[in-house]
C-alpha cells in the first residue's frame, strides 16, 4: 500500500536507495497480483465456505427434515421490507463502484461522495434489519426455522457491520487525503470495495433463499 519515505541525507547519493526505504527490506513478490488483493480473495473464498455451511444447514432443514409449515404458523416474513432492504444494499454497490471509478480518474471529491453514500446506505440496511428483528414476533428459539433464519441473516448482518467498519476507516482516510489516482495508491478503498461487493452478492443469495423460495 502507501509506503512511507524519509528525506535524503545531504551528500548521501551513494545510499539513495536505502535512504528512500523505511523499515525492513521489501519481501520478494512472486505473484503478479499484489498481496492485499490476493489476501482479500483468499479471505472471500473462506467466507464463501462459511456461508456454504449455513446454507447446507438451511437446505437440510428445509428439504430433508421438511416440516409441515415453513415458516411455522402464524409467523410470516416481511418480504416487502426485505426486498426494499435488498434494493438499498444493491444501490450501495453502485455507490462504492462510483467511488472507485472516481479515484481512478483522479476525482477525489467523487470518491468521498461515493464512500459517504455507501456508508449511509449500509447503515440504513443494518438499521432496517435490526428493526425487522424487533418486529418479527419470533426468536432464534422458535423451532429450527427461527434458529436458521437468525443464523443466516445474522451472519450476513455481522458481515455488513464489518464492512461498515472498513468503510469508516476508508472514508476517514479519504477525507485526510490518503488516496490517489494510481492503483497502488488507493488499495485502501479497493479492498473494502471488493469486500462490500461480496457482502452484497451474499445478501442477494440469502434474500432469494430465505425470503422467496
Amino acid at each position: 500500500m502507501e509506503s512511507a519515505s524519509v528525506p535524503l541525507p545531504q551528500g548521501g547519493a551513494g545510499h539513495a536507495a536505502e535512504a528512500h526505504h523505511h523499515g525492513p527490506p521489501e519481501a520478494n513478490q512472486s505473484s503478479r497480483i499484489d498481496r492485499q488483493t490476493l489476501g482479500i480473495l483468499l479471505f472471500i473464498i473462506s467466507e464463501v465456505m462459511l456461508f456454504g455451511a449455513f446454507f447446507a444447514s438451511y437446505f437440510f432443514l428445509r428439504v430433508v427434515v421438511n416440516p409441515a409449515d415453513w415458516p411455522p404458523k402464524p409467523f410470516e416474513l416481511p418480504v416487502a421490507v426485505a426486498g426494499m432492504n435488498t434494493a438499498i444494499l444493491v444501490s450501495s454497490s453502485f455507490t462504492i463502484h462510483y467511488a472507485l471509478e472516481s479515484i481512478r480518474k483522479g476525482n477525489k471529491q467523487g470518491m468521498k461522495l461515493g464512500l459517504v453514500l455507501t456508508w449511509l446506505l449500509g447503515l440504513t440496511f443494518l438499521f432496517i434489519q435490526i428493526n425487522e428483528y424487533v418486529h418479527l414476533g419470533f426468536s432464534a428459539r422458535t423451532e429450527s426455522f427461527g434458529t436458521i433464519f437468525y443464523s443466516l441473516t445474522g451472519l450476513h448482518g455481522a458481515h455488513v457491520f464489518v464492512g461498515l467498519m472498513l468503510l469508516t476507516f476508508a472514508t476517514i482516510r479519504a477525507f485526510r487525503g490518503h488516496f490517489d489516482k494510481e492503483a497502488e495508491d488507493h488499495l485502501g478503498v479497493e479492498v473494502p470495495g471488493i469486500y462490500w461487493h461480496f457482502v452484497d452478492i451474499m445478501w442477494i443469495v440469502v434474500f432469494a433463499t430465505v425470503y422467496i423460495l
Binding site: S31, R32, V90, H97, E190, G193, D200, A208
Partner: protein, 71 residues
C-alpha cells in the same frame, strides 16, 4: 482475467440478474421451480468459477520466482 473491484462489481450485476430471475420464476410458478432454476445457475456459476480460477492462477504467477531465480 483480472481480480479487482471493477471485476467483482460485474459479478454483483450478474448475480443480481440471476437472483432476479430466480425470484421472478418463484413468484410466477412454484418455489420448487425457482429452487431448481437456482440450482442450475449455481452449478453453471461453479463450473465457470473453477475454470476462471484455474486460468487466473496459471497467468498470475511469475515463473520462476524468488531471489534464487534472478531475471
Amino acid at each position: 482475467m483480472k481480480f479487482n473491484e471493477a471485476a467483482v462489481f460485474k459479478w454483483v450485476l450478474i448475480v443480481g440478474v440471476a437472483g432476479a430471475s430466480v425470484i421472478g420464476l418463484t413468484l410466477l410458478t412454484r418455489p420448487l421451480v425457482g429452487a431448481l432454476w437456482g440450482l442450475v445457475l449455481v452449478i453453471a456459476g461453479s463450473v465457470y468459477g473453477i475454470r476462471w480460477s484455474r486460468d487466473w492462477w496459471r497467468n498470475s504467477r511469475n515463473l520462476p520466482g524468488g531471489p534464487d531465480h534472478p531475471g
